[in-house]
Symmetry: C2
Subunit: 459 residues, 2 copies
Amino acid sequence: MKKKKFLLDEDQMPKKWYNIVADLPNKPLPPLHPGTKEPISPDMLSPLFPDELIKQEVSEERFIDIPEEVLEKYKIYRPSPLIRAFELEKALGTDCKIYYKYEGGSPSGSHKPNTAIPQAYYNAKAGVRKITTETGAGQWGTALSFACAQYGIECDVYMVKSSFNQKPYRKIMMNTFGANVFPSPSERTQAGRNFLAENPNSSGSLGMAISEAVEMAVQDEHTKYSLGSVLNHVLLHQTIIGEEALKQFEMAEDYPDVIVAPLGGGSNFAGIAFPFLREKLQGNKEVRCVAVEPSSCPKLTKGKFMYDFGDTQGYTPLLPMFTLGHNFEPASIHAGGLRYHGASVLCSQLLKDGIIEANAIPQIECFEAGSLFAKYEGIIPAPESNHAIAQVLREVELAKKEGTTKTILFNLSGHGFVDMMAYSDYQNGNLEEHKLTKEEIENSISKIKNLQPQEVAIT
Amino acid sequence: MKKKKFLLDEDQMPKKWYNIVADLPNKPLPPLHPGTKEPISPDMLSPLFPDELIKQEVSEERFIDIPEEVLEKYKIYRPSPLIRAFELEKALGTDCKIYYKYEGGSPSGSHKPNTAIPQAYYNAKAGVRKITTETGAGQWGTALSFACAQYGIECDVYMVKSSFNQKPYRKIMMNTFGANVFPSPSERTQAGRNFLAENPNSSGSLGMAISEAVEMAVQDEHTKYSLGSVLNHVLLHQTIIGEEALKQFEMAEDYPDVIVAPLGGGSNFAGIAFPFLREKLQGNKEVRCVAVEPSSCPKLTKGKFMYDFGDTQGYTPLLPMFTLGHNFEPASIHAGGLRYHGASVLCSQLLKDGIIEANAIPQIECFEAGSLFAKYEGIIPAPESNHAIAQVLREVELAKKEGTTKTILFNLSGHGFVDMMAYSDYQNGNLEEHKLTKEEIENSISKIKNLQPQEVAIT
């Protein structure tokens, strides 16, 4: 029998996270204070994060030890399997080898607990009693709810109001793990009240929810804030995915020519790609890494590399990144995790330096790819993951045209059990494509400069 | 680090299913023809099932080889992990060791594909072009939809109308795997039209849906019928669960004192318990096996052991089993998979002979147990599985009172991602207990004898 799944035992789990900053040819520019526009010092982040996470955020060490207590909790669902998509390959009639790393077996059903657990751990160690966060479709909020339950920390989740109303399952999951969930914008924060005063019917956005969660964290010394993507320490924690995959490819006696992952803030992509990029940057092994974004939120392929806020209200530090502008309102596609205006600093720097590639794909093509995958591989993917699968199918098609074969690895970052309505829309022909015009994008980006003069464009 | 998960490699997957008939001290009574009341011969089942499955249904061989092609498909999600519930044990403050076999990682999210795959395989081998089946909450229909997609067979699912309307997610999953789903009772069958003539607003039942699926199968020579529980060959296929668990307990250098599983038709319970019961019946190792049913559908603890139909219309053979009467309408509890009037012949015989135990638990206690489990172990269980967890907590409590410890194994037969509304009802205090009176049960059972004189009571 040909081996379909490459499994690691618990004692083979990687003991270190990988920090790509150590190997970047160009170090990323520093974050700037939103008011002074001066580089911020680590201690300025103290109201938001415990010291250990701030240290990781600014670290240039290549490897960072995973605490024993975190490894214990990772064991609840890790190591995750590397799976060869034999059934899909057969259905496609391709000689390409397709592998996927499946992160959907976690408590929240995605890769998010990989960082939720260490974040909750470091907060607990620092005596923090409550963590606030935002969530869009609910993946991140679910992961943090679970992690906080593990360490006895209270968890307040500000959930984008449209999701709160349309996706009750995710809210109930968070409640099941013991978290409090508030629809955002809410009346609980000044930021929320501001948004509501401006638009009482606002359905919310990730940027608004971040503003609310941050505001609540800075007001109380026992409360901290937690983010599920974008930041360096979040990407760092996710590298457990790629570190495992490296070991599993050794077992498979194989190596990927191309790695594909969706990119919302960047943690999904970074998680699987960064450890392989280390091998590339150190000159050991070549690999193409492709970040896939939705056509309706094309920050990597159509955005601009500049300093921008992470949130709508302008509370967060300014980060140098590919962005569509922090007031950009992405169309309400089903891949909620990819509806974010900016890309993480690290992923942005890699793209700017030509070390990784990016591609934007419309959502109907993504659901078509995901449905095919489900039928043959038996896992119904999350809408975010469908973006990776669509790119895989494009790679296979390209290989056919070129008469070549290749080994493809993608991150199946989550399952779609809680997203079946999206599949229903697809099956019933109710999925819309949201075509952004060049003018809309330019308009959104230009707004930053006109309305928020404190941003510093970098050329 | 203490080992949490015991994983088998694909090449360690058991190569044989176990047929408990070979070891039963009292062989079960034969099924009877619904009209003649005479024992049926295997060929009478030919309109419904392919020959290979009929052979398995009546086999007395102890072990039956799993075909290589089925093992290949099992590899899509098997072997499943055996997991030590360290986090739950700690939360309970118990010295008991709690293990669970997790079947929720399959394409449908439960143990059901273990039999759906071989059933689809044998049908495909026999040239069958379409399979009809019924489904309650949708677990079985999802599993068969996936299995049929693997072998290119068309799949028609008759879904209990109340579930069809209340649980759209399951329907969409079946559609995603390519199946046709019809609400039952439907206008497509004579049985359906009969039910609707009697009650145009009927919300359906599993018994009605079976009648519809059976009727469609017998009408066409290229169409067969498939059942997701109750029958001997279905229970046989599920023994892969317990066979794996036996190997995994060897790895753990441990052995269960008690095994707990929910019982709807019996395949969940049989799957995990039968291989351990072999060791017990052969005098090798003692074990208690407890089947758990909902208080609102207590066939094992309050039903009668007698011949009864598997369906409402009276199409199926008469089977000797613990039953509440085939017209019994279980309350609409959330554990849809446990809402069935009868128990499989094999489980019924084992209970009658005192080889296994049974217990009925009310649903609120089950959701309380399941929620506790979710919070600590990170898996939100299916409502059916919550019944097992509630029994585990009772076993732990009992051990505490007795001042003993024990090793407990239970079947975590599925996840609850598609059942979050049930958890919401629980959290909001909207779960009702359905208390059956003795009179209601007696009335339901007596109806069989009065209205269906062809049943033969066995004393």
